[in-house]
């Protein structure tokens, strides 16, 4: 096996947390407001519940097939004919997300700070950095994340705190109960969003000791959900439903409002640095998941694959012409992502539970 290195549950915690409150976190509130208006908290709560269930399935599977990732145990559970295609779908999903995180980040910089800089330059330079850290393996990604996360979370916290001065609870009113199907749509979005925890399907075998993964998973989903929920409330109380739905980058707008007395304001540049960092961390983690999975599928080291794969990523990233097209594509990921994020772990877990037999204990050969 490659020297990829093992990571601690705490490192895994930060990897997932930064994934949840990283670059995709910029997209969630607007999507939710568009779909469910001020009832988004309900969708968030239910999505959170689903995510906890996903964590349950993943750790359940992980315990049965310790030392194996989904790519390795899916064929064991479902047979090769179904196992490989499902692994492939999941890997492509990781690839899509990696590409998405790069492009969302490029769009953010493009609309907020560097309107004339070609996206190729923004994405290209970021991808070079991603290449370097992915080549060094998961352990390095985890260490960088572990080091930077506290700063990122602290700054987000600061932004939320700085925005309290504009909050007006009456902007949440009227609380009108909207149609169930709309809330259902919102839940799909949040399940896809929190479903980012499916990266654990790939990461599980690298986390040592694995018996703490379930607790870590629970806490990371709750923490991430809490931050997203507070952000959502903060946005609605600051901007109201209509305005939030109008914005391209609600979270960035929120940060732009922060003003501490009259001497500390326009923190947007600082936060663009934050999102630059999270884009780098997210893209690295997702690329790693894709690459490691692919190499497990093909059976040789991913290091040779990294450069061509990242090159393809860059090309795909640059395909949509602008933000509006990116948002439209992202919508599909949000609406149908749940098939992958909830469907795959659920299916595997159910089938393996039915098949169970006596052999799951034998896999614990650590």
């Amino acid at each position: 096996m490659n020297k990829i290195g093992n990571i601690s549950p705490r490192q895994a915690f930060f990897l997932i947390l930064i994934l949840l409150n990283g670059i995709f976190y910029l997209m969630l509130p607007r999507q939710l407001v568009n779909e469910v208006g001020s009832m988004g908290w309900l969708a968030l709560m239910l999505g959170l519940g689903a995510a906890i269930a996903i964590i349950g399935f993943i750790t359940g599977l992980g315990r049965r097939y310790a030392d194996k990732s989904i790519v390795q145990y899916a064929p064991l559970i479902l047979g090769k004919a179904l196992g490989y295609p499902i692994s492939l779908v999941l890997l492509l999903y990781f690839a899509m997300l990696a590409v998405g995180s790069l492009r969302i980040f490029a769009e953010l910089l493009n609309s907020a700070l560097l309107p004339e800089t070609p996206r190729l330059v923004l994405i290209g330079s970021l991808v070079l950095l991603v290449y370097w850290v992915v080549q060094n393996g998961l352990e390095d990604i985890a260490r960088v994340t572990e080091f930077l996360s506290p700063f990122i979370i602290f700054l987000l916290f600061l932004a939320l705190l700085g925005n309290i001065q504009y909050a007006d609870i009456s902007r949440l009113k009227p609380v009108v109960f909207i149609e169930w199907w709309k809330i259902g749509r919102g839940i799909l979005s949040t399940v896809s969003y929190f479903g980012l925890v499916v990266t654990l399907l790939m990461l599980f075998p690298f986390i040592k000791p694995y018996d703490r993964v379930a607790r870590m998973g629970f806490f990371v989903v709750v923490t991430g959900g809490l931050i997203s929920g507070v952000t959502y409330l903060s946005l609605l109380t600051t901007f109201g439903v209509e305005e939030t739905a109008r914005m391209a980058w609600p979270v960035l707008e929120m940060v732009r409002m922060v003003r501490i007395s009259s001497f500390l304001e326009r923190l947007d540049a600082l936060f663009l640095a934050v999102w630059l960092t999270t884009a780098f961390l997210n893209a690295s983690l997702l690329s790693f998941c894709f690459l490691e999975g692919t190499s497990q599928l093909l059976g040789y080291s991913y290091r040779k694959l990294t450069l061509p794969v990242l090159g393809i990523f860059v090309v795909i990233t640059l395909l949509p012409p602008g933000l509006i097209q990116v948002l439209n594509i992202y919508r599909y990921l949000e609406i149908y992502g749940f098939v992958i994020t909830l469907g795959i772990p659920l299916l595997l877990f159910l089938v393996s539970s039915i098949k169970k037999g006596g052999k799951h204990g034998a896999e614990k050969n650590r």
């Binding site: 907020a112 560097l114 309107p115 330079s125 370097w132 209509e242 305005e243 732009r256 409002m257 326009r266």
Partner: protein, 417 residues
């Protein structure tokens, strides 16, 4: 191995290339003009955007002695705001940078034609901030931006300070772009923006004092007919009263009493002075300083007709007394409190009446139903709003302190008695 050897140089290149991406969109400080104020006027279907560009060299000179103001007022014209801004660029070698904008002034004509068409840019452009204050100018916005008030070198900064310190009088609201946009998109409430007016002299001064300052005229044309001597920039900028809108269109002005009436109801009163006529001596007044106030509009439904209860609680501070009544007696104090409450109620009523005549729901009576009683809001026929609306008042005041004195000043004859 190859990996190891190229690793470190590669890292260096990566980090350097990252730093360089910022240079693509670099804006050298000596190539941009800091736009500190912006005004929107409308004339013959075209928008005229006036901006105040700060002149850094003049500012650096150290204010004070400069003869010329450290800002340059320049305007452009176009079908849209952005077109007008680009029109400015044909006359300004420096591209305006909007990140340091202080205030947006809307001219009366532009306001009458509706603010929706041009408010979009101020929340879309990435240099504009949603915290920019908005004021409506009586007359042209350009006149306001051309005025040269004292104390501050830059008119826009002056305006911004004026808006920020409005709480001392509470005769004008404070509204930023974000507030305005939310009001516009909320059903049942109309925008209410502060009114700014450029004057040649203070309102109450009848004969203007001669001022021999050879200022370079910016072209402030005295809009009002009066004793027009020479073209020189106006010196007085006054933030007083407000502009009521119907939808996004200007509906009419509120004077300062009506404005404060509205602010009482919406909880916008910070401080201010309430001069109450003394019940004990005619033509003598007592000054009550407003220390704090809470206002609330409660929607009330009576026989399927909309109504509202305006609840106000104010704590006051006795700061000046013209009559000579001892107020140690609780009943006297009580009396004064009731009078103050009446005074406040009168102000609110004037505000409500003005809103009724303008048919502009600046109080947000309908909006209260929308937010607090959504089901009734849907049932009520809001076309009849202004005929049917019943407003009740409940004002409580408490006089908390009387500053550094307990008793008023008295003449010897009175003391002896």
């Amino acid at each position: 191995m190859v990996q190891k050897r190229i690793g470190k140089p590669l890292l260096g290149v990566l980090i350097l290339s990252f730093l360089l991406t910022g240079c693509w969109n670099r804006q050298e400080i000596n190539e941009i003009g800091f736009a500190v104020g912006l005004g929107v006027d409308k004339a013959e279907k075209l928008y005229q955007v006036t901006t105040q560009l700060a002149l850094p060299a003049k500012l650096a000179e150290g204010g004070g002695g400069g003869e010329e103001p450290p800002v340059w007022v320049v305007s452009g014209q176009g079908k849209t705001i952005f077109e007008a801004i680009r029109d400015i660029n044909t006359r300004s070698p420096r591209k305006p940078f909007w990140g340091h904008l202080n205030v947006i002034v809307i001219g009366e004509e532009a306001a009458k034609d509706g603010i929706i068409p041009f408010i979009d840019l101020f929340s879309r452009g990435h240099e504009f901030r949603r915290l920019n204050q908005i004021v409506v100018a009586k007359g042209k916005a350009r006149e306001v931006l051309e005025a040269q008030p004292k104390l501050e070198n830059i008119t826009a900064v002056f305006l911004n300070r004026l808006v920020e310190n409005r709480g001392g009088q509470s005769v004008a609201p404070g509204v930023n772009v974000n507030d305005l946009l939310i009001t516009l998109s909320t059903p049942g409430i109309d925008p209410f923006l502060p009114k700014i007016e450029a004057r040649e002299k203070e309102v109450h001064i009848k004969e203007p004092p001669q001022k021999e300052e050879e200022q370079k005229a910016g072209g402030g044309e005295g809009k009002k007919p009066g004793e027009k001597k020479e073209e020189k920039p106006k010196e007085i900028l006054e933030l007083r009263g407000g502009a009521a809108f119907r939808g996004d269109k200007f509906a009419g002005w509120l004077n300062e009493v009506e404005t404060r009436g509205l602010l009482w109801a919406t909880g916008g009163v910070g401080s201010g002075i309430l001069a109450v006529e003394s019940p004990w001596q005619k033509d003598k007044f007592v000054s009550l300083e407003i220390k704090g106030a809470q206002g609330e509009i409660v929607p009330q439904l009576a026989a399927n007709k909309p109504g509202a209860l305006i609840k106000v609680k104010a704590s006051l501070n006795l700061v000046e007394q013209q009559d000579s009544r001892f107020l140690e007696d609780p009943r006297s104090l009580q009396r004064l409190q009731e009078l103050a409450a009446n005074e406040i109620k009168g102000e609110i009523m004037k505000g409500v009446e003005k809103a009724r005549t303008l048919q502009s729901d600046i109080f947000g009576f309908e909006g209260k139903f929308y937010k607090e009683d959504y089901n009734s809001w849907k049932k009520i026929d809001w076309k009849q709003k202004w005929q049917e609306l019943q407003v009740n008042y409940q004002v409580d005041t408490v006089i908390e302190t009387s500053s550094m004195a307990i008793r008023p000043v008295k003449l010897s004859s009175e003391v002896a008695r």
